[in-house]
Symmetry: C2
């Protein structure tokens, strides 16, 4: 690296911090950037610079958005009585890219993972409960008929689903007994990562969802 | 992608243009960026923005540099009588990372590739000739004793080496008969890519270089 000028080295070192990118790949990408049009680089730089200030979490479902409420929650044509609970926005995108689901979402931003010191209070679980008992500011989500627990089919995802299920059962005892709690069908192989599942597998999983 | 806000979507679409990065990876990288400290992003953005204006080609060897002459050409402790001719700066970096070579370089910025309409005049071959006959502005490279042709061991790389060899032989006829022309040893497997060779293979290749 010693022979790379700083203008390239700093970019390469930054890219090396990204997941899945080693030193050689970082150099290749940096050199590729050097061949792109100046205006494209400036635009990209400006987007990266504004990334954190412009991106917020939807106050309703915790999807990423530039506004207060995300596109999906604002969409009156979606079924706001069905809420799909996912671990991350990447999981949400997997469903959206497949166009196989017309309900809304709730993003937990993680999963219960004691080894990494992530407990229920670090996730958006209380917000989900508030949303169901009607304390949140919901534009459409007035009557929730079904909660689909779409956490990943691995240990932590299962534990998160069970935890949420128990919380929801407490609410049902309080009177909201009409809410159906379901889980994605085990079309997904155990231990797999939802984010990389193909659309057809996700479709099967949505269609075959079971009472939980 | 429809459910991603523009602040994220624009970055993801840009990253998808980079080699080896598909839609899902681009999304993952974008979300990863979102978790980095604001100041790191701003610094990266500023570096990307300045990349093209700050980065120049060394007037001597055509390595990348922020100055007129690159670090390697400026380094008086290197052996300026041996010039290693490489296709790209990435190839140069492979040698430098291995710390197995103490001469200087000449970067061709490509290889003769008629199928992709790259001819000798599109490369820095004339500049290499000028450098040898002494027309360039060389801080140290006064007496060149050896030219190592370190183009890749594939069809185009071989053709480029042969072309340069013939050019150099013409010069030798004009009197510079003391210049040794060599080629990397065939420790490198044919059809391989120099950029990804391990240091030991490169070391063998440098040590076993042959008269060409």
């Amino acid at each position: 690296m010693s022979s790379l000028p700083n203008s390239l080295k700093n970019i390469s070192l930054f890219l090396e911090r990204l997941p899945g990118i080693g030193e050689k790949t970082a150099n290749r990408l940096t050199f590729f950037l050097l061949n792109l049009p100046e205006e494209d680089l400036k635009e990209f730089a400006s987007n990266v610079s504004d990334l954190k200030s412009k991106t917020k979490l939807c106050k309703n479902c915790f999807n990423f958005t530039e506004k207060e409420i995300c596109e999906i929650c604002e969409n009156g044509e979606r079924d706001h009585s069905v809420v799909c609970v996912v671990e991350t926005v990447l999981d949400l995108l997997s469903f959206e890219q497949g166009r196989i689901y017309n309900g809304v979402y709730h993003v937990l931003h993680g999963k219960i993972d004691p080894l990494n010191r992530v407990g229920p209070d670090d996730l958006k679980i209380n917000e989900l409960i508030n949303c169901i008992v009607g304390n949140g500011l919901k534009p459409f989500r007035t009557e929730i008929k079904e909660i689909i627990l779409a956490t990943n089919p691995d240990m932590e995802g299962e534990a998160t689903a069970v935890y949420i299920k128990n919380k929801l059962l407490e609410i049902k005892k309080l009177g909201n007994s009409e809410i159906r709690i379901s889980r994605l069908a085990y079309g997904l192989p155990m231990g797999a990562n939802l984010e990389y599942a193909d659309y057809m597998t996700l479709k099967k999983a949505i269609e075959g969802r079971n009472k939980f």
